[in-house]
Amino acid sequence: MRFVRSGRRVAVAAVSLSALLVAAACGGSSGGSGSGTGSSAPAVDLAQQGDIEYWQGKDSSGNIPKLVAQFNSQHPQGKVTFHELPDAADQQRQQMIQNTQIKNPKMAVISVDVVWTSEFAAKGYVIPLPADRFPTTGMLQSAVTGATYFNKLYAYPNTSDGGLLYYRKDLLDKYGISKVPTTFDEMKAACDTIRKGENDAKLGCYAGQYDKYEGLTVNFDEAVHSAGGAIVGADGRPSVASPEAAKGLQTLADWFKNGDIPKAAVTWREENGRTAFEAGQLIFHRNWGYVYNLAQTDKDSKVKGKFDVAPLPGISGPGVSSLGGHNYAIATNAANKGTAADFIAFMSSEETQKSNTLATSQSPTLEKLYTDSDLVKKFPFMPTQLKSIQGAIPRPKAVEYGDVTLAIQDAAYGALQTSANGGTADASTALQGLQSKLQTLIK
């Protein structure tokens, strides 16, 4: 009998413990958030020197420790330690927010994704940067705009990024298409000719990033802007329920439906698309600058020396890229903001940006580097990249950017997935729903 009893006790104990663990695990993330960040410090002291930490996502190039060592050797009054964060952007953001909430004085310089600028600024996580210490002359205007919130610069542009159209030069040459398509219609005409001639069922026409994640927001924004629409109007209010915006989304949906964009692309992120392009399964491909080197050097790449880049194609107007990139900000709770400011100045100098671009192929924010002979020699796509970034439009600026981007993804993904499954997507209805949702999110 006592065994039965203890069996039941085990069960009861297990229940209570498991239940407790659920609550503890879920509650863990919410603890310690009670207090605000106290951003009302009136005057920011940019003189205090001392040791600091630089926080950035995973440094795949391995170049950051070299730059940090170089800075430390010339700056004895305050040393920088590189604090590497995970690869995933949302985890970087979360760690920065958590360390703001616990007022970590060591976290001084943080590498802020361009879309976090508004949130970090509005919630007082980072301080505004005075123009005398942080001049923006000679920098890409779109990158500066992306780092500005309510007419104040909160982050110093460091790297930028724009979308590029990778295309199979060999196939275009083979079928005598001398002009690289600048619109979706021209792209479709080129694809029809090439696919007819190649007679390869696996050869898709075009693809970008359409899985439900930040990449979809980027690609949707580009489609809307390239069709002459806007997500947020000049007055700062949502204006996505326009016929132009609907045309942008409808074009992508139609391309999914008739198979010009492979149906599988509804699950693609950057790497899936790059793999498909390198395997020779795409004629045109929208991706970032990092693909150029990989597609040229990867041992599995079947398109080495067979492709080139061009600006993104437009739908009814010129092609418009979304703006990417990371910028340096000074955390509000940092103890030694003077060293932080010096470090940012060093990292943003022309020399550092140039050496960093050479080492990592990340696009710089100083405009003149795009015509620098060393850089252009190593990265022939630099002038095209400059055009892409100069014309780039940032994604909507919103304090609750996470909600805005999810709302955009909900609307776009629904339409694209319907089309990928062979249904008929109604872009304008989807965008009317998005418009009303954005009106509650962007005020």
């Binding site: 229940v15 879920c26 919410s30 509005a122 509804v266």
Partner: protein, 355 residues
């Protein structure tokens, strides 16, 4: 029922001790027990008790969201909102479209969690019991089979999530086997089944392992007697194996149910966040916390906590009572307080010993 039968023997002995307190061995041990237990209690209070209390407090607050139109700055701090974080669940402010039509994101996640739990646990139990039956048989290479079946359980969930992501990729193994392109990793009905497949693969061995432990306590004589009486294999399974293994199996199923109700890493790692057909309550709560809406996130976590608690207690009440009722003890015998050890007891003790 168990307590009802067991209590008499317990109460008679301390009944004397309570009056006279002349037991030298147990006198004054209450304090010693507290001292010895204190470290454990403190650890539990720190790692579980305090966070739960903070969570509950947090769920009554909400971060301020008003943006100053001139500076763009947000007012700092939280405000007390009472039960609004809970009542808003029913207000339908944040509707999404998932497998069950358009509804509040909370209820969509709630239904996903519930259906994942039902489907996964049923399949895992069936497969797990089958695995245990195979593993308990004596045959050549049994050690390898046992080790092989346990491999999935040994792999960290997030690793198996990424592994299954490759399998269910549009160009992956599963589509090659099926010979058609199913977009498992998009956000559609097949995504749900992709998760079910991965979860069953991973955790059926857990049920298998615990059931095996239960099976090994069933004495061979019972089967021999059944054979002599001419029972078929199916009759032996239904009349002997299942009833005798049930107490162990119920605990295993209970653990899996509680675990599946908290499912997070498989849908997150395989299909991705923000996909409503596989979004569970844990994911939704995490997403809300990531959006710095800690109050709402805490409220959803507490609802999940209560949900798990209710399910678990129902489990113990309903199935736990059945454990006793089914093991061949006639009901009137239970009321016979003076005769607790009868013919059914040896089997019960053996089963209980498996824990």
């Amino acid at each position: 029922m168990a307590t009802a039968t067991a209590e008499p023997s317990v109460t008679t002995v301390p009944g004397d001790g309570r009056k006279t307190k002349k037991n030298a061995l147990s006198d004054g041990q209450g304090r010693l027990a507290w001292i010895l237990l204190a470290p454990t209690l403190i650890v539990i209070a720190v790692v579980a008790g305090i966070p739960v209390i903070i969570s509950i407090r947090e769920s009554f607050f909400r971060a301020n969201t008003g943006v100053d139109p001139n500076t763009g700055m947000i007012a700092q701090g939280d405000s007390f909102v009472g039960l609004q974080n809970f009542t808003d669940i029913f207000a339908g402010l944040n509707t999404v479209t998932g497998s069950y039509g358009t509804m509040d994101r909370f209820w969509n996640a709630f239904l996903n969690t519930t259906f994942f739990t039902i489907v996964c646990v049923v399949l895992e139990t069936v497969l797990g019991v089958a695995m245990a039956l195979i593993m308990s048989k004596a045959f050549r290479g049994r050690g390898i089979v046992r080790a092989g079946i346990l491999v999935p359980w040994a792999i960290p969930t997030i690793v198996s999530a990424l592994m299954w992501k490759l399998i269910f990729d549009s160009e992956g193994v599963m589509n090659r086997i099926l010979g058609k392109q199913v977009l498992w990793l998009a956000d559609n009905g097949s995504s749900f089944w992709a998760i079910v497949a991965a979860d069953v693969w991973k955790t059926a061995p857990f049920i298998g392992l615990l059931t095996l432990a239960g099976l090994q306590t069933i004495p061979a004589e019972v089967y021999e007697a059944a054979k002599v009486d001419g029972a078929t294999t199916w009759q032996q399974f239904v009349r002997i194996t299942l009833p005798l293994v049930k107490p162990t199996l119920v605990v295993a199923v209970l653990f899996r149910t509680l675990d599946t109700l908290r499912m997070f890493d498989l849908p997150w790692g395989m299909i991705g966040p923000g996909k409503y057909r596989v979004e569970t309550l844990s994911i939704f709560s995490y997403q809300e916390a990531a959006a710095t809406r800690y109050g709402q996130a805490a409220a959803y976590a507490i609802v999940l906590f209560l949900y798990v608690l209710i399910v678990a207690f129902l489990f113990v009440k309903v199935l736990g009572a059945d454990v006793i009722g089914d093991t061949g003890m006639p009901k009137k015998k239970k009321k016979d307080k003076k005769n607790p050890g009868d013919a059914a007891a040896p089997g019960l003790e053996l089963m209980g010993g498996a824990h």
